[in-house]
Amino acid sequence: MSTTDKRALREVLARMADEAPQPVGFEELGAIGLQEGSRSAPRAKWIQRPVSVMTVAVLATVVLAGIGALVFADDTASPPVPDTGTVLLIPTNIPEDVTLSHASMWNVRGDGTEDPEAAVTTSLVYLPPSQETWGGEGERYVTIDVDDRFAIFERDHLICYEDDELEVPIDSETCRRQIEQSECFGLAAMQEGRLNADACIGEAIDGAQRLQDDSPQGLDDTGVKFTELTVRGRPALVAEIEDHSISVVTFEGGGVVSTVTGQLLDREVVLEFAQGLQPATPDRYATFIATATR
């Protein structure tokens, strides 16, 4: 989107927001029923992420959203995705100059959790000892994000709309038709109990064109390169921005996908990091991430 387009869009959004009425007073809220329904909520374990630079954002978009494939090396067929996988993955090949600094887990509802058995998404961040943030230009880091995409499917991926923009039930015909259009996340994959890695990558190729159409300036100069390979016997996709960032997306098994992203690290170091991920029991994982607090 061009700067002119953004400016016009921002003006429209500002005008729409400016039509907002005054908020109801807090005292009025109390009279309506604030005191009703008070209840406890589980403590959410959030992590604070910094603003990413454009190139990293593009790379993450390309990889995580399954978008983009400009160059494919390795003509060998991908191995099948294992039947089961776990989001509780612990690295064993850790670069010497980074340490675990942040760890977080989310449950199926998208809430932060401290219970590994309830986690369907996990995230680990490794930083140099003196560094507090990551994602910014010139910052060195490794992150590991692992999602059980089937577990979060309904919340995160199955959003179907009728013509009137109402979300429709997952089991409706409308939603079913939309799901069937995706071989990656679709019904066949769910029935089989594992993601179709080839289809996911294929759909990623289609997405690449859309991304380039949307933000050609974001890709033209960055030299993004994509490679298929095998990580721990599983199909994987590597996305690299030359001399800058690398992400390794591995189809771990079932609906689980891990993404290891490294910035300002050698390619081989990041690949070894991804290769060294090992499944852990809930107890071991909890003990492991307990060291994350600095």
């Binding site: 005191q35 959030w46 999602d147």
Partner: protein, 164 residues
């Protein structure tokens, strides 16, 4: 956290909750206005606040949590039959006002987006939030944010092209 910790002896909510509400309520109503229009925005925010304010003390990112609550309330509203009847009866806010604006075609395109697409566009282009932050504000995954944004951009492209 329970009722006792959030209600003063005279039955009034604590000052801390009031401060939190006052700090974010204007932004929340603006956000809701973009999603559902000015007529329903205040009610949406009020309903969302009644649901979630008592829990706020345990939340480390109250702003994101409150935006998420408003977004969820909008979804509930959209699902409501009353809303459906109103829409079918053509009682939606009139377009007349919009036509006098500088970018009527873009506004029409924004209003034509789904609620989630509109929310992602607003948080991206007005609030300047990151994908991760938007995911937290809406209670959805990062991939979902990117998908909604990509779809929204695609839907907006024609209007923006016509404008240019």
């Amino acid at each position: 956290m329970g009722d006792v910790t959030h209600v003063e002896p005279d039955g009034q909510p604590t000052t801390r909750l009031a401060e939190t509400y006052r700090r974010y309520s204007t932004d929340l109503v603006r956000f809701a206005t973009v999603l559902v229009g000015p007529d329903d925005a205040a009610d949406v925010v009020s309903s969302a606040m009644i649901r979630v304010l008592p829990r706020l003390e345990s939340i480390q990112k109250p702003r994101a949590y409150l935006f998420q609550a408003v977004a969820n309330e909008v979804r509930n509203l959209k699902r409501g039959e009353a809303r459906r009847r109103q829409r079918e009866a053509g009682m939606s806010p009139p377009d007349v006002v919009h036509m006098s604006e500088q970018y009527p075609e873009i506004r029409a395109a924004v209003e034509g987006l789904s609620v989630r697409q509109r929310a992602v566009v607003y948080l991206t282009y007005w609030e300047d939030l990151t994908v991760q932050s938007i995911a937290e504000h809406l209670g959805i995954g990062r991939g979902s944010v990117r998908r909604h944004l990509a779809r929204a951009r695609k839907n907006l492209r024609r209007a923006l092209h016509e404008h240019n």
